[in-house]
Amino acid sequence: MKPDLNDPAWAWAPFQPDAARPWDLRLAAHLYRRAAFGGNWPELQRALSEGPQATVDRIVRPTPEAADFNRLYDDYENAAAASAGYGSQAWWLRRMIESPQPLQEQMTLFWHSYFGISNVHVKNNASLCRHTHVLRQRGMGSFEALLDAVLAQPAVWICLGAGADGKRRVSDNFARIVMEQYALGPGRCSDSDVHEGTRALSGWIVTQGELRFVPGEYDATPKKILGQEGDFDRKALVRILANHPATGHRLAQKLVRWFISDTTKPSDSLLAPLAKQLTGDGSMAKGVEMLLRSNLFFSAEAYRQKVRSPVELALGIIRPLEGRTGTVRLAADLAGLGQELYEPPTIQGWAGGLAWINPLTTLGRAKLAEALLAESGAYEGKLDPAAVAKRHGRATTDGGRQFLVELYLQGDLEAEALGALSAGASATGSVNTRAANPRQIAAGLASLPEFQLA
């Protein structure tokens, strides 16, 4: 097959490194950035020796510890959700750092943005917390099971407008969001489809923060939805939506946007194989796996073509340094940069891309990098670049610097930039810092434009 990004067969075929596109540190780090929020040195080295497909195996396969880990953290998050403040979100951030299966956390964040359920409207930490747990538990299975579980969440119903104004029947707008925004895509449903969808969703009422089915309120007459006819209830509606080809197409679009590139606009034919994977019984895991193995994923079309969200930025600093910081303060700082967990702006989720970037947020991102890596202060110096460098055999000043460039940027940086960075750090450092302080170097690297791209 000739390398051709317009050829779906080539685009989705598993990546085999060759002379033109070797399997090197850059691509290994790219895989770990997109699938695991960033890889540490041992992970990257192992990936280099194992090759791309084996590394994808490792990332995608559920690990045995994951179940216990998730149970433990579910408990931590639930307990923290009972009180006000960032406790629950802080535990989620810690989970993202510590999880033995970070791809699952990436997917949970993806779904959080996809459904866009916000605590601004739900006003109940525990509800949102439960919602994210469902997204995690079902996020890698079939879309039908996920959508079904999501529509069983009171948080979702409240955010979409149920239970307001004492009405017992949801509005057409509610159904339109479920059918178009969450499944088929905008403009795919006629007004009558939407209205019939409303009838299929009848009977469900939010009371006392729980979703209950009231048989007397359910409209049992047959409905005609999207060319099918029958006594469709909520579950049946979900089945129709999940199996519709447009849904697979929409999911494929969204996955490509999340995992491949902020700027690419893939054609329908390019998306078709992925869409097929995601429709019907196809599991999300299989689709994501196909995506992560593909030539498209490892091509220049994808490499550094995504602006890091604040969460990805912070984790991209923390995870490679094999460390862990306090996350309560981190949750607040990320909210300041525009990404408050539990509060995506609308049901469209976070827009992402260049929307994260403006002069103030650029300064704010540099400040966060500085704070995370500082020796003292809000994050208490828990990340220690010098120690990590030493652990991997780069104890000298120059060696340590080079190590950080490889770890964070894989050499996507010109020599002059590095020289200027270290000179600047030592020339203008304060009285108490030593020259070429690794913390300052790391903070400087994390403030570079190149680092803002995943």
Binding site: H121, A300, R304, Q305, N358, T362, A420, L421, T428
Partner: protein, 420 residues
């Protein structure tokens, strides 16, 4: 201490040469650097919105001091002709607002009377949400809502560009007015928390290539981010300077109230000419809000109005000193007015219509619209005659030069005679 604008830019630019970055410099920065003559105002109009949380009692703010119904219904709270600050033969300002009367006499204050909306809510959360979104919740699911200023900010930001068009200045969580769908609206409590101090930051951003340049030149995304980083590096010294000026400000310049401190910061940000067009400030402390004077209104309301008038007046003076006032418009709003009759606890309850203040160099000045009748009431509260969406439309179209059709529901035309 007021800073001469030219000096300000001289200090801020330092040794950096803007020209070195060529086309990556955004238009507004290039324009400001070029236009460094003293006293030349920035041409882009700026809107500053002050939210009064809790429901401001319009009847004791703009007082119908000759009206018998007013005096009869407010035995303990009424303000008589001896105490009121007269605006004309029928209306006057609360005695705690001489600063506003001065602005009125200088022609810098417009008072739009009788602003409200049909079937207005008298519940804090619901009414505030209506004023924040502008769409009255009907037919829009909560998850799909955004603030009217948020939509304006989204509209003012070109996709593919990384401009900063709106900020919230304050300690509380940003109110829903500035809730956007797309871009990030920073909340600024202090300037320090946005300024990295490390040496590594300022010297690491260098305008040269990186290993990422593909055969077709530097990829678009990287170019955009590099340009944004270069802008941020130019913005930083301006913010540092602005912060220094804020700290050195003589106490006489702004009164010690938090609202005044927030407005002082807004003034410095305007002076820094960062391209921000919408500033949002909250007064009343968030939560239910300090204007919710059900009990003991006299002293509390007076203190709040004094704070509002003196803070805004200091802000106006500050801008005027650098001839920036003509490009700034201040607008106040509250989620509802209050009832005509007292509550029995020497306070008032939730009402409906209330006046909106507009302050700036280009307002027409004076009273706009008739004072609502005090005999033909809507459940003990004055009736509205001007829908607040028309006020929003006025501000969007006649001031910010934004089309209101994407931002507001259809059918609300701007008001004539508010802005000159």
């Amino acid at each position: 201490m007021h800073i001469n604008r030219r000096d300000f830019f001289k200090e801020a630019a330092g040794a950096t040469s803007l020209l070195a970055f060529g086309s990556s410099v955004p238009a507004f920065l290039a324009r400001s650097a070029a236009a460094m003559e003293p006293g030349q105002p920035s041409r882009e109009p700026v809107l500053v919105v002050i939210q009064l949380s809790g429901g401001n009692d319009g009847l004791n703010t703009v007082v119908p001091y000759q009206d018998d119904a007013y005096h009869r219904s407010r035995p303990t709270l009424r303000i008589g002709s001896e105490q009121v600050l007269k605006l004309d033969s029928a209306l006057g300002l609360h005695p705690a607002m001489p600063a506003f009367r001065k602005l009125y006499q200088e022609g810098r204050l417009s008072i739009i009377q009788g602003v409200g909306y049909p079937r207005s809510s008298r519940d804090h959360d619901a009414a505030m949400e209506d004023w924040h979104t502008g769409v009255l919740r009907e037919g829009v699911p909560p998850g799909a809502r955004s603030g009217w200023l948020g939509r304006a900010i989204d509209a003012a930001c070109d996709p593919g560009k990384t401009d900063l068009r709106g900020v919230f200045v304050g300690e509380i969580k940003a109110p829903f007015s500035v809730h956007t769908e797309r871009v990030v609206v920073p909340s600024i409590k202090s300037l320090e928390e946005w300024l990295p101090t490390g040496a590594a930051w300022s010297d690491s951003i260098l305008p040269h290539g990186s290993g990422l340049a593909s055969s077709s030149g530097v990829p678009h995304l990287l170019a955009a981010v590099r340009s944004a980083t270069a802008n941020a590096r130019l913005v930083q010294p301006r913010l540092v300077l602005a912060n220094q000026h804020l700290r050195n400000q003589k106490s006489a310049a702004y009164p010690p109230f938090p609202l005044a401190q927030n407005l002082a910061m807004v003034a410095q940000l305007i002076r820094s000419d960062l391209g921000i067009r919408i500033y949002f400030v909250e007064f009343g402390g968030g939560g239910i809000g300090g204007f919710d004077t059900h009990a003991n209104q006299a002293a509390n309301h007076g203190a709040l109005l004094r704070e509002l008038a003196e803070s805004t007046s200091a802000f106006v003076d500050d801008l005027n000193h650098d001839r920036l006032l003509d490009s700034v418009l201040v607008m106040t709003f509250s989620e509802f007015g209050r009832t005509l009759t007292e509550s029995g606890r020497r306070g008032t309850n939730h009402g409906a219509a209330a006046p909106i203040f507009m302050v700036g160099g280009r307002v027409k000045g004076g009273l706009w619209g008739a004072h609502p009748s005090l005999t033909d009431l809507d459940a003990d509260a004055p009736k509205f005659h001007t829908d607040f969406r028309r006020v929003y439309a006025t501000v969007l179209e006649r001031w910010l030069n934004l089309k209101s059709e994407k931002i507001l529901p259809p059918g609300f035309s701007p008001l004539d005679g508010v802005l000159a």
